[in-house]
Amino acid sequence: MSEAVVEVRDFRKRYGDAVAVDGIGFEVRSGEIFALLGPNGSGKTSTLESLEGIRKPDGGSLRIGGMDPSRQPRRLRNFIGVQLQTSALPASMTVDEAMLFFCAYHGKTPREDLIERLGLDEKRRVQYGKLSVGQQRRLALAIAIAHEPRVLFLDEPTAGLDVQSRADLHVLMAELRAKGTTIILATHDMAEADKLADRAAILLQGKIAAIGSPRQLTAAGDRRTRISVSSERGLLLESGADFPDALAQGPSEDYAVYLSENPGKSVAAILAWLEEAGDPLVDLRVERPSLEERFLEITTAPSAQGDDK
């Protein structure tokens, strides 16, 4: 197992009387993509910004590559790369100037290849204020990774990106991980976390409600598989037929939906029933519980709502 490059122990952060983060702890290993998930106000950005050295913790300890972000911010700058959720560049700064400017402060030569790689080649002389939101996000990402940081923080990196740019970014993140870059990702996009993250922590009201790989997280929740069936004559929708280990969930558009703890047995029984009824199958979908469903299960549980004031 690789070394822990990010260590968080009993971390606390408050703003006045409001507790943003309440004693959380986790480790992120070198070369890992670690997702921080949670609803708005759950403490994701406070955790990220404290790790980045932007905010000072009120308790506990934070270490990145052995460095304390609040005490050694200058040493940390070349070790980490950051794409903030809310930040900007000067409106009159061109793409080329931005790359030159920030690489100079990191003591690196400008990474022309990244400008091309992130689809900004034709925008080199365009000022930041005239770029689209997606282009601004891509430029921020190019600057964040231009000095080849060991740890990369991405706060909602795909917000404002179109479908193609999102897909490109996911490929880039996978490439960075393959090169050994550790990525800490805060996102509302559960599909993104499910697809990319090696591990994820779900934050709720400043505490870690669940942590593990996306598979572990989903397995810890409702383990039933969703079976959706559509047939030509739609007999299943009207029949109310029961099948082994399958609980009918009622229709969803043209589909009869079941939850099953034994999907193989349930699917076989459903198909046999349709065959016998002479109702040809149109579509069959067998879906495992997603990270998004697990997330909603955790964040909407009565215990999660109980402390709301």
């Binding site: 930040s87 009159s92 100037e97 400017f101 100079a104 402060y105």
Partner: protein
């Protein structure tokens, strides 16, 4: 050092590229100079004696009071400072570079005003260019310090404009730019010592212009202390993050920058 120079070069270029900077560095002060220069020369023949220092100072005020504070507030509130911070741009560069690059633009504007004033309006040219340049540098430093301090202490652009205008408008009226301070009635003359413009005019005229005026030691001291105090307070009060949602009570310490002028108003003549 390379990064600092890249930053400075970029910021200098924006003085031409950015419309608001271009307006405040060149267009507004130069158009004002050509209009007021012509008008005042015909109304008041003695205006030619102080036209160049007055118009140079006017340009400094446009740059340092009207442009610099808004520039800093807008950048901070938009999150530009956050981007700087996470990429290792030092706070000293964030504060110093706009001042230095604007100073370079002001040097250009001052040369244009000096040459054109003498050529087109027959205004008195500086008798000692080196001392005039030193006086201009001191004047610019005092105003830039105040501008930076306003930008750092203000929570938003509305407050910035209000505070800037609170200094700018009285400076134009009472600061000796249009009417020499010596012609002001006693009470107003003392009140005018609270304004940086009054001391700047004393220093610019006293050091650089023809005539045997006594060396304005008090005003030189006031401007030097004001510049040091303002930049020092700005460095202490500087914050990277938006202040819109969290006003800082520390910002009131910025009022300490008035001290050298208050002392001058008490002891000066």
């Amino acid at each position: 050092m390379t990064a600092f120079l890249h930053h400075l070069a970029y910021d200098f270029k924006t003085g031409i590229r950015d419309r608001s900077k271009l307006l405040m560095f060149y267009l507004f002060p130069l158009v004002f100079f050509f209009l007021v220069g012509g008008l005042m020369s015909s109304v008041n023949p003695n205006f030619g004696q102080t036209m160049i220092p007055a118009m140079v100072l006017f340009a400094f005020m446009c740059s340092a009071l009207l442009n610099l504070p808004s520039l800093l507030v807008n950048a901070r509130e938009a999150g530009v400072f956050r981007s700087y911070r996470i990429n290792g741009v030092p706070a000293a560069s964030v504060l110093a570079i706009p001042v230095i690059s604007a100073a370079a633009h002001m040097a250009v504007a001052a040369v244009v005003i000096s040459l054109a004033g003498a050529r087109f309006y027959g205004a008195a040219a500086p008798a000692n260019v080196a001392l005039f340049a030193l006086a201009a540098l001191l004047s610019y430093a005092a105003y830039a310090g105040i501008g930076v301090l306003i930008g750092v202490a203000s929570g938003n652009n509305t407050v910035t404009i209000l505070i800037s205008q609170l200094i700018y408008i009285p400076s134009i009226i009472l600061g000796g730019l249009m009417v020499p301070s010596a012609m002001l009635p006693g009470g107003l003359a003392r009140l005018s010592l609270l304004l940086p413009a009054t001391h700047c005019m004393k220093v610019l005229v006293g050091l650089g212009m023809p005539g045997a005026a006594p060396t304005p030691w008090l005003s030189m001291g006031v401007l030097a202390v004001s510049a040091a105090l303002s930049f020092g307070l700005a460095a202490l009060l500087f914050e990277w993050d938006s202040r819109a949602s969290a006003p800082s009570p520390k910002a009131w310490f910025a009022l300490l920058a008035v001290l050298p002028y208050a002392v001058a108003a008490l002891i000066g003549r």
